[in-house]
Symmetry: C2
């Protein structure tokens, strides 16, 4: 098993835009949990607040371990400006962008060797998201319509070359013992 | 760009268990669209029916092309038995299964060279899903809680080695023209 320190060294935060509390509650929770499980260090729910979501994510982090920041209500523009001011780059996941499979976009992103803010939108994102003023890279996980959740998972899996799927999360109260058949969760001594 | 014939030659159908119409409407739509976009040939919504979901998926397939079967209401046990009777294998995606990154489970699945029924569950799946009687393989896309949508996307991306992300979907009315910055959709002549 690989340690958690190496993949997470590349700082990566996921910004979720366009969340509507009732309609998107499960989907946004899945996006945030995907961010955590695949090695992002934090999550920003932009422009709106959702206390229930915050509680859900906090509970998962408490039980399953690891450090995962959660921020909400920050206007997206402010989050982007602040990220760039600190030397980070912005990657917008969208079906309209450069295809991660047929283009060299992923290697160009990696070559930057900078912290990455990944913007995950919803159906109708502001046109500005596609512009250079906001996104350094527009990346498509295939150019077919599917899901922001799937796009984020595949982007992170490929960015980290799969290494984050075996991370140990520090301070976990429980861990799954992988099995061919059956279910096993072990409680960790603290 | 690769053609659609080669990756789809490995027949793959996704079975979604545990859908509740109101609670899961967006999530299950995302799972179905992920199945389609990442190269599965069809989708089974087991045990329940959801006409709205069927309409959503049909509309996407009509506009964006390709053949993608949609079936609903079939009891999961019947779908599994019928799949196996035709010589297929069953892969259950679950956080409790063998880790796709640290184990050799993916190569063992590929070595079978058989049609694959991928079961995508929800929070509390029947215990039988983990047993040999139902699932030939239990596969974890990492052993942390996240999302059935993310699990499916990464499983398909890895199974098809990324090749399905550049498929051309036959009979599409429109196609995205991938761009570094901006949005472009072209209408296809029919």
């Amino acid at each position: 098993m690989k340690s958690s320190s190496s993949p997470r060294a590349a700082k990566m935060v996921v910004l979720r835009w366009g969340h509507r509390e009732e309609r998107d509650k499960r989907l946004t929770a899945h996006v945030a949990l995907t961010a955590r499980a695949f090695g992002a260090s934090g999550f920003i729910l932009s422009d709106v607040k959702d206390e229930k979501l915050e509680t859900t994510i906090a509970k998962i982090s408490k039980n399953w371990g690891g450090k995962f920041s959660f921020e909400m209500g920050t206007p997206w523009k402010q989050a982007v400006e602040s990220w760039r001011a600190k030397g980070g780059i912005v990657v917008h996941l969208t079906a309209y962008g450069e295809n991660i499979q047929s283009s060299d976009v992923l290697s160009r992103i990696k070559a930057e060797k900078k912290p990455v803010l990944v913007i995950v939108g919803s159906q109708k994102v502001p046109a500005a998201f596609f512009s250079k003023a906001v996104s350094d890279f527009n990346v498509a996980i295939g150019n077919q319509p599917h899901s922001e959740c799937s796009s984020l998972a595949v982007f992170l899996d490929r960015f980290f070359s799969g290494s984050t799927l075996t991370m140990q999360f520090e301070g976990a109260k429980m861990r799954i013992l992988p099995m061919q058949h059956g279910k096993k969760v072990v409680s960790m001594k603290t």
